[in-house]
């Protein structure tokens, strides 16, 4: 494993992945549960590890996300990612949600250096260490793919 920044020692790598924010959102996920009414909903599934969730959105006629929730089961990374995503999306326009999806995807694939490039990720940068664990990237992005699927009116999204 090469780390060009030279700052990632033993403890830090994992701390970057299992940060307190992630542990806390895993334990107390926000916007967790069914959402009624909703205008958009999709199911996300990672057959490899069994992570399974639903994302529901209520979007008004102006294209603003009034409410968003998730339900389901998964690892700490996937649950915390879903929880933080719902917080980030509330009040955003559909175009902004799509833009955030793209920024988040680039972040966790290390296509973006969030410290240097302008972005709108805010708290979501806690996931910037995920790229070091390729087998876990899908956990972090499952909720986002599911959200995008809901916007695109897909019923089911699979990360395989």
């Amino acid at each position: 494993m090469t780390d060009t920044s030279g700052t990632a020692g033993h403890g830090r790598d994992i701390d970057e992945l299992y940060q307190q924010v992630i542990i806390e959102h895993n334990r107390h996920p926000r916007n967790f549960g069914a959402l009624e009414p909703h205008t958009h909903r999709a199911e996300g599934y990672n057959p490899l590890c069994g992570d399974h969730l639903f994302v529901s959105l209520n979007i008004d006629e102006q294209g603003t996300i009034q409410a968003v929730s998730f339900e389901g089961d998964g690892c700490a990374i996937s649950k915390a990612s879903a929880s933080l995503m719902t917080m980030a999306l509330k009040g955003k326009k559909i175009e902004e949600a799509r833009m955030l999806f793209d920024e988040f995807r680039r972040l966790i694939l290390k296509e973006m250096d969030a410290a240097r490039e302008p972005n709108h990720l805010g708290k979501l940068t806690v996931f910037s260490g995920v790229w070091k664990y390729p087998s876990r990237v899908k956990c972090a992005i499952l909720a986002w793919h599911t959200m995008k699927g809901a916007l695109d009116n897909a019923k089911t999204v699979s990360t395989e």
Binding site: D13, I23, G50, C75
Partner: protein, 409 residues
């Protein structure tokens, strides 16, 4: 504990044990049920085959082809002795246990099973011993019956006896469970099936490293295993079948080497075992498997069995000290496979946190989704040990698990 087994010396034979993991941490390899490391002897023989003796087999009249053919066929003899089979005709090389099962399902199954005939499997089968029979069901209309397992992860033999009947044509059962560690009473399973007139396939993919497999003692009809789970190369495996049964079965694949003559009007198939080995086989893989068998023969089974029993007992004791660790699979007869859940921490989080400490374990359903369903869990974390693992590694593992719990506190 039997101290005759010199694990320190044995470990020197496995260069991969010195590998570094994430952040250059030394690796503790506890994923042996997925695949095992290979001793130098296997690596060296495979390497020298490619360096000095590469040739296709069976057809060449030139020197290298004769040498490669002799090495390939001498492995067949090694496998025959390893399994105590009667004849070389009974040893078929495949690309792994999975292909061996598919061969039996496709060839024996399609020819001899009809609508309404029953195939008995168990709840602890690997997907590779479930799906081929479901595919056969699609094609023939045969019926799949499943023997349940107990809370300890043991086969419920009374239920098995109830399922056996005049409609039972085939029983396909695992020897040692990859996700529970359970060792099944293979000899009894086969005896009962034979009384009902059924033939039996034993999936010994995990079992061949657990105890000696004697196909005559078992009276098994088919036995399958893979090379890479017994310290050999990937991409090579074995199907043992009783000669009488193999003779009665049509070829599984058509191609070169499995024929005696080909004409557009009529093709005559080759004799056993070549009838089932169409195309150029994994020559180097088979030769490497021979080296793996030689390696296992160089060890004492009694010592290996004692040593692994000690690892099982020591590991079970250590893990029982971790609060809220639930062991999945506590059979009386068990291989050193520790499958567990820990509080409500997801298996993949446990796997990643342990990986950071250098431990290679497997997390997920281990290709045994019905087992997960039986225990009402989505996944387990699994540490599976080989004879080159140590008590010290288990002790470090218990410490690392306690650290995982701390992270999620």
């Amino acid at each position: 504990m039997n101290m005759a087994f010199d694990v320190k010396r044995i470990r020197e034979d496995f260069p991969n044990l010195a590998a570094q993991g994430r952040d250059a941490k030394p690796i503790v390899y506890f994923d042996n049920a997925a695949t095992t490391f290979k001793p130098c002897q296997v690596i060296a023989l495979t390497h020298s085959h490619y360096c000095h003796r590469t040739a296709n087999i069976h057809r060449g009249v030139h020197y290298l082809s004769e040498v490669a053919t002799a090495e390939y066929e001498s492995t067949r003899e090694k496998v025959r002795r390893f399994l105590n089979a009667r004849s070389l005709s009974e040893i078929i090389f495949t690309k792994g246990a999975t292909e061996s099962i598919n061969l039996v399902a496709a060839s024996y199954g399609r020819k001899f099973l009809k609508s309404g005939d029953e195939v008995i499997i168990s709840q602890m089968e690997h997907h590779s011993n479930i799906v081929p029979w479901q595919m056969l069901r699609e094609e023939t209309g045969c019926v799949l019956r499943v023997v349940p397992i107990s809370d300890a992860g043991e086969l419920m033999l009374d239920e098995y006896r109830k399922l056996l009947g005049p409609r039972t044509k085939l029983v396909a059962m695992v020897h040692v469970s990859n996700s529970l560690g359970t060792v099944n009473p293979v000899k009894d399973i086969i005896k009962e099936a034979h009384s009902a007139g059924a033939v039996v396939l034993i999936d010994a993919a995990q079992g061949v490293t657990h105890e000696p497999v004697d196909v005559q003692l078992w009276d098994a009809d088919f036995v399958v295993f893979s090379g890479h789970k017994m310290f050999g190369p990937t991409g090579v495996g074995v199907l043992y079948g009783k000669e009488r049964l193999l003779e009665s079965m049509p070829p599984y694949q058509g191609g070169g080497d499995m024929i005696l003559s080909v004409d557009f009007d009529k093709t005559i198939y080759n004799r056993l075992p070549h009838k089932f080995e169409a195309g150029t086989p994994n020559v180097a893989g088979v030769i490497g498997l021979g080296a793996a068998i030689d390696y296992m023969n160089s060890l004492s089974w009694a010592e290996v069995i004692d040593y692994k029993k000690d690892l099982l007992q020591h590991g079970t004791k250590l893990l029982s000290t971790i609060p809220d660790l639930r062991m999945i699979g506590s059979a009386t007869e068990k291989a050193p496979i520790f499958s567990f859940t820990l509080r409500d921490i997801h298996a993949h989080d446990i796997g990643t946190l342990l990986d950071r400490e250098g431990f290679a374990i497997r997390t997920g359903h281990h290709c045994t989704q019905p087992v997960m369903k039986r225990f009402g869990i989505p996944a387990t974390s699994r540490a599976s040990l080989a004879f080159y693992n140590t008590r010290e590694e288990l002790e470090a593992f218990a410490v690392a698990l306690k650290k995982v719990v701390e992270v999620f506190k």
